[in-house]
């Protein structure tokens, strides 16, 4: 297990103002300073959650910026109210230098120079969403995420040559969404700023002194307005207040593999905003006026550690078409061809859809447009042929979801060799029989296998089976016979014997008259009879075997004292 989260412990309760709550490192090792209420500060020992010290402010004095420990000054620093010339937004602690003050107008200064006039780029309407001080190998950088005139901006102050140099970069997020949470982690020479949007997009702004690159890392399902995020490293983030399986959870999310490594339900129902802090190997979560503490551990993920974790795609499962032919609805209006064409070209172009995620996302978009396509001839287009070719031959990733969809929806063009696809599908572990004398092609047999494996209701499936043509019934029956005699339980996609037999029964029930009357069916029925007879004999042998085994068991078992009745004749050998 690469990551784990321990059981929650109530750290502090009766938090009156969640906006001011802050958990910061303290001068004493193993302790944290908690700005609990606007007029109350406590120092707790993490180990046993004991309050070591406690202060309160004077009457009518309220803390506006949480208390921090200034290592440089060996002092606690907080902001009571805005007596400074320019309103202080936040005091940011630094290990090596004086704490840095961020003003509401966007200006920054060291604590010692707080009285100097500070000019900033922000007006009153602008909003600072997030700010933090990052210490890199040589640089000191203040990162702020701003909402300036309705646009998201990433502002950074780099302290070089005794002055603060400001850079501003626009941040592009999807329209009609908003930033939910933001957090930054320092790299060697850069800062990685993670921005979580309401639509689930996780953006990563790679900020260095010279440039800023943006990238959508993952799309996380279950993000709500109250979700809070803290980045632990460049690969792991902690999400609190996410919805998963209709439950509010806290979990460590692997941004590389796009899956929760570990998640736990939140200790209390989510009624207000959630605040999350990560300090001293512990997560501090404010959840409905109570501060909970979780211990956690997190190590870099490997493929083996992430295996088995469910990856949740953006598209909910309900949109995955059921197996079998799609019902093409003609009433729906067709989407714009231009958009589809654009997607097709992007799919084919290796440079455009580099990652599997992108590829799959785009493919699913095509599937959507395909669904509404009236012609239904997409499978025969060269475009589709090329997509399939790429699926099969791509060296960088293995788009198994796409391949599965293609097979299920019969979108594999005839021009692409069946065997090739089947071989490719086999790599994914869901291949069909692999035997040469199968009456169905491997792709078809895979689909039939899937159908046979599905649970069904006898009454309704018989009605559906009525609609199959008699020739198909014969082929299907032949295939099912073939399955019985070539049953391979090792392959997970293969149905088991009971499922095959049940399906043969309903199939024969559905077409009984025709099967009896038609001379064409004689051969199949005889073969079925032979197969069933063979199976019957096979299982009859098991009975003999069972009796033999039980006799052997009895022979070698520890003899139990026999209850002697009134009379018996028994054998006596006296040594």
């Amino acid at each position: 297990m690469a990551a784990s989260i321990g059981e929650p412990v109530v750290f502090a309760d009766d938090i009156k103002d969640p906006s001011v709550l802050n958990v910061a490192t303290c001068g004493t090792e193993g302790s944290v300073i908690v700005t609990q209420n606007p007029n109350l500060i406590n120092i707790y020992k993490v180990e046993d959650q004991k309050a070591l010290q406690s202060w309160s402010t004077k009457h009518n004095e309220h803390i506006t910026s949480p208390v921090i420990w200034s290592e440089h000054n060996q002092k606690y620093v907080t902001v009571i109210n805005t007596k400074a010339k320019c309103a202080i937004n936040r005091i940011l602690p630094s290990d090596t230098t004086e704490p840095v003050v961020l003003f509401n107008n966007g200006g920054v200064a060291f604590l010692g120079r707080i009285k100097d006039t500070q000019e900033g780029p922000l007006s009153d309407k602008d909003e600072i969403l997030f700010c933090d001080l990052m210490r890199m190998s040589s640089d000191l950088c203040v990162v702020c995420l701003l909402n300036q005139e309705g646009k998201l901006q990433l502002m950074s102050y780099w302290y070089r040559n005794d002055e603060w140099i400001r850079h501003t970069h626009p941040v592009e997020v999807a329209p009609n969404t908003q930033v939910v949470s933001c957090h930054a982690v320092p790299g060697r020479n850069n800062v990685e700023v993670f921005i979580l949007c309401l639509n689930g997009d996780l953006l990563c702004q790679n900020l260095s002194f010279d440039q800023c690159t943006s990238q959508i890392l993952q799309t996380i399902v279950g993000v709500t307005k109250t979700t809070s995020m803290v980045a632990l490293s460049s690969t792991h983030i902690v999400l609190a207040g996410c919805t998963k399986d209709n439950q509010d959870v806290i979990g460590i999310y692997d941004v590389k593999f796009g899956a929760f490594e570990v998640c736990k339900p939140l200790p209390a129902a989510k009624k207000s905003s959630i605040k999350l802090f990560a300090l001293h190997g512990h997560l501090f979560v404010l959840c409905h006026r109570t501060l909970h503490m979780f211990s956690y551990s997190c190590h870099p993920s490997s493929l083996s550690s992430i295996l088995g974790h469910q990856r949740v795609d953006v598209q909910p499962q309900t949109e995955t078409p059921p197996p079998g032919p799609l019902s093409w609805s003609k009433s729906k209006t067709s989407s714009s061809n231009t958009e589809a064409n654009k997607l097709y070209s992007e799919l084919q172009n290796i440079s455009m859809a580099k990652t599997q995620k992108e590829f799959e996302k785009k493919f699913l978009s095509i599937m959507k447009s395909h669904e509404s396509d009236a012609t239904g001839l997409l499978s025969e287009t060269t475009t589709m042929e090329q997509i399939v070719q790429r699926c099969v031959t791509d060296q960088k990733f293995w788009p198994h979801n796409v391949l599965d969809q293609l097979l299920v929806h019969r979108l594999v063009p005839n021009s692409v060799e069946d065997a090739k696809v089947a071989e490719a599908a086999k790599m994914d572990g869901f291949s069909g029989t692999g035997k040469s004398n199968s009456p169905l092609s491997e792709a078809k047999s895979h689909i039939v296998n899937k159908i046979v494996k599905k649970p069904y209701n006898d009454v309704f499936i018989i009605e559906c089976l009525h609609t199959i043509t008699f020739q198909n019934v014969l082929t299907l029956l032949e295939y099912l016979c073939y399955l019985i005699s070539n049953l391979d339980t090792q392959v997970s996609s293969m149905p088991d014997l009971a499922q095959i037999v049940s399906f043969i029964c309903v199939l024969i029930d559905a077409h009984y008259q025709q099967l009896v009357l038609s001379p064409d069916s004689q051969e199949v029925l005889i073969s079925l009879h032979r197969t069933v007879e063979g199976q019957r004999e096979y299982f009859a042998e098991f009975l003999t075997l069972d009796v033999l085994i039980s006799q052997m068991k009895r022979q070698f078992a520890i003899p139990r004292p026999r209850a002697v009745g009134k009379y018996c004749i028994e054998v006596l050998h006296v040594y």
């Binding site: 026999r562 028994e570 054998v571 006596l572 050998h573 006296v574």
Partner: protein, 672 residues
């Protein structure tokens, strides 16, 4: 060693009765006991607790007390008579009425001239027994309430009696009570019954009462010395060791408690009675106890006679409650079994199968199941002394105290589900003897009877007539307890309790041979299949083979007779059946209560000093031993061969016997 098919019979539902009285006869070194059905058994201590005599009783006659007077045995009961028994004929010899109602207790003076009986009417009645007589002598003053226990001190000329709420000390000379000791009550309305009393030579009196107390009294002053509340319920019996330093008590809670008169400390001479040992071995009420010089003997409702060695040596003997004489007869040629119950006989056809198996212990399917063919009840519920069935089951005979009876059996379709059986009593031509042992010759031509008057009578059997063929009138002075006929029907071996063994010619009417006298009683005997040798098993666990023709012990016997290992001779169980088979001429088959043995004459005996576990040959062992054992069968009543490889084993398990016993006193046990 041997491969057999065994008829394992457990349908013989013989139920031994509760022990009522136990007395030890010092002069004869025997223990006599009576059971609730009125039968009396004597156990010979000289012959390793061999049950040598059984005097049959009847359900209507109860025996409440027994008493040895020298070699004479008396009993008394609710009929108010004191009865003396003839221990050779095994029947009552004389009786005298108490003239004071039922007799509850009986004791003798140390000179053996008088008996004293405690009666229902409250009288102590003296009987004169001098000069081999038994007659009423006189009666003491009548007291209020019955006398339940009695003890006599001849030297002090006093008799102690126990009754309801009190004990009295009587002067034998005057017949008046000289001392009266009253016992308290636990509840006002509940009488305290003195169930048992004893008197010691120093005038110390001991009593056991219904409160569970064992009390020691000063008889001179009539005061209590010490009282022990050792029992949770009634103390029913007391026993005093001959050294008068040990007293034992027992009762409804089935523990036996020992009290000893001992010094309290090493330096002091001051002695007092202390409780020393408790034995928990009985499951039900202990009704009676006796003390031999070496053992304390106890018995009661659980029907088992137990002897515990006194002193520090731990040695417990459990005597089998089923009589040692033959209760089962086998008709070898007809596959039939005769079972002797106290007052009726049952003839069973055994099952059969043609199947066989190589696997030891495998149960073979019965092709023909066993079936009861005859149930024959005695007249007026008389108890059966002995019975026999002929080899082809054409004749059946039994004897009770009135005489022996002979029946002709006619059976057809014996293998079918419902065979037809006809039973006809033979009345003509039969002498009216009461028999101790009966045996038919294998050819069914003769019936040999050992009568109660120590005669050997041979009766010739014909289809049409039955007649006395020959009789050896003054054969012996003692009771005959073993009778065995040779397979060729020509010889009969007779053994009596005076250790005399004689081989008689049945047809020739002559004494063929007399075996050398041996100091131990014969417990079982049989002829070899060729009728040349007689094999005898003795109470000291030795087995001898006597060549009848040469009139000497056989070569094998002379070789091994001194080689029986000590561990073998120390065995407690007595060999009660011995048999031979023509299929295995070199082997002797015998059994005791829980083991079936084969003695292989061709193999060497283990060394004399062998340990008990080295006595018998074991599989996968390099050691060779003449003794081979099978412990699968428990509580064996009978073992015999039917055909070549067919053996009948009749078992009566302890559990089956316990099932019909009454409830024992409920006691809290740890963990229950």
């Amino acid at each position: 060693m041997g491969e057999f098919r065994v008829h394992r019979v457990r349908f013989f539902e013989y139920q031994p009765k509760a022990i009522q009285c136990i007395v030890y006869g010092k002069e004869v070194n025997k223990v006599a006991l009576s059971r609730s059905d009125g039968c009396i058994e004597t156990w010979d201590l000289k012959n390793d607790w061999y049950q040598d005599k059984v005097i049959q009783g009847s359900e209507s006659k109860s025996i409440e007390t027994l008493c040895w007077q020298g070699e004479r045995l008396y009993s008394a009961g609710l009929d108010g008579d004191v009865v003396e028994y003839d221990l050779k004929k095994l029947e009552p010899k004389a009786s005298a009425s108490s003239n004071a109602g039922p007799v509850w207790c009986l004791t003798t003076d140390s000179h053996g001239k008088f008996l004293a009986a405690g009666t229902e009417d409250g009288c102590v009645v003296l009987f004169d027994t001098d000069y081999n007589s038994l007659q009423y002598y006189r009666s003491f003053d009548k007291q209020e309430g019955r006398i339940l226990s009695i003890a006599w001190n001849t030297s002090l000329e006093v008799i102690l009696t126990g009754g309801v709420d009190n004990m009295r000390l009587w002067s034998v000379k005057s017949g008046h009570a000289v001392q009266r000791m009253t016992l308290g009550r636990v509840e006002k309305s509940k009488e305290t019954i003195v169930w048992c009393v004893a008197i010691l030579s120093d005038m110390t009196l001991v009593s056991g009462d219904s409160r569970g107390r064992t009390i020691f009294w000063n008889g001179k002053q009539g005061t209590q010395i010490k009282s022990f509340q050792m029992h949770q319920a009634d103390v029913l019996c007391l026993a005093v060791h001959q050294d008068e330093k040990q007293v034992f008590s027992s009762g409804v809670d089935p523990k036996v408690v020992q009290f000893q008169y001992t010094t309290t400390s090493r330096e002091s001479d001051w002695k007092m009675w202390v409780r020393t040992k408790i034995w928990y071995q009985h499951t039900h009420d202990v009704r009676a106890m006796a003390v031999t010089p070496t053992d304390v003997v106890s018995g009661g409702v659980d029907t088992t006679l137990l002897a515990n060695r006194l002193g520090n040596e731990k040695n417990k003997r459990k005597m089998r409650s089923i009589p040692m004489h033959q209760l089962v007869g086998v008709a070898k040629d007809r596959n039939a079994l005769l079972l002797q119950y106290p007052d009726y006989l049952e003839l069973w056809r055994l099952g059969n199968t043609r199947k066989t198996s190589e696997k030891d212990g495998e149960v073979l399917p019965e092709e023909i199941p066993p079936q009861k063919l005859i149930q024959l009840k005695t007249k007026d519920g008389q108890h059966i002394a002995c019975c026999a069935i002929s080899s082809r089951a054409n004749w059946m005979s039994y004897s009770d105290i009135d005489g022996f009876k002979l029946y002709k059996i006619t059976m057809t379709d014996t293998e079918s589900i419902s065979p037809s059986v006809d039973l006809r009593k033979v009345k003509k031509g039969l002498p009216s003897y009461s028999a101790h042992r009966i045996v038919f010759t294998p050819d069914e031509k003769f019936l040999v009877i050992a009568t109660s008057c120590q005669k050997i009578v041979v009766i010739s059997l014909d289809e049409d007539s039955v007649s006395l063929y020959h009789a050896w009138d003054d054969y012996t002075e003692e009771s005959i307890h073993q009778l065995s006929v040779s397979p060729n029907s020509k010889l009969v071996a007779v053994a009596d309790l005076s250790y005399k063994i004689t081989v008689l010619g049945v047809v020739s009417k002559e004494v063929v041979s007399q075996l050398p006298s041996y100091k131990s009683t014969v417990t079982a005997m049989t002829f070899t299949p060729d009728s040349r040798n007689l094999i005898t098993a003795h109470a000291d666990q030795k087995i001898y083979e006597f060549d009848v023709e040469k009139k000497e012990y056989s070569d094998w016997c002379r070789e091994v007779c001194n080689k029986f290992p000590n561990a073998w001779k120390k065995r407690h169980q007595i060999i009660h059946h011995i048999s031979t088979s023509p299929r295995y001429p070199d082997k002797i088959f015998f059994c005791d209560l829980d083991k079936f043995f084969i003695l292989d004459k061709t193999q060497p005996f283990p060394s004399i000093g062998s340990k008990p576990f080295n006595l018998v040959a074991r599989p996968n062992s390099s050691k060779v031993s003449a003794f081979h054992v099978c412990t699968r069968f428990r509580y064996l009543i009978h073992m015999d061969f039917v055909n070549d490889d067919w053996v009948v084993m009749v078992e009566r398990t302890k559990l089956a016997m316990m099932e019909s016993l009454p409830m024992a006193m409920q006691q809290k046990k740890f963990g229950t």
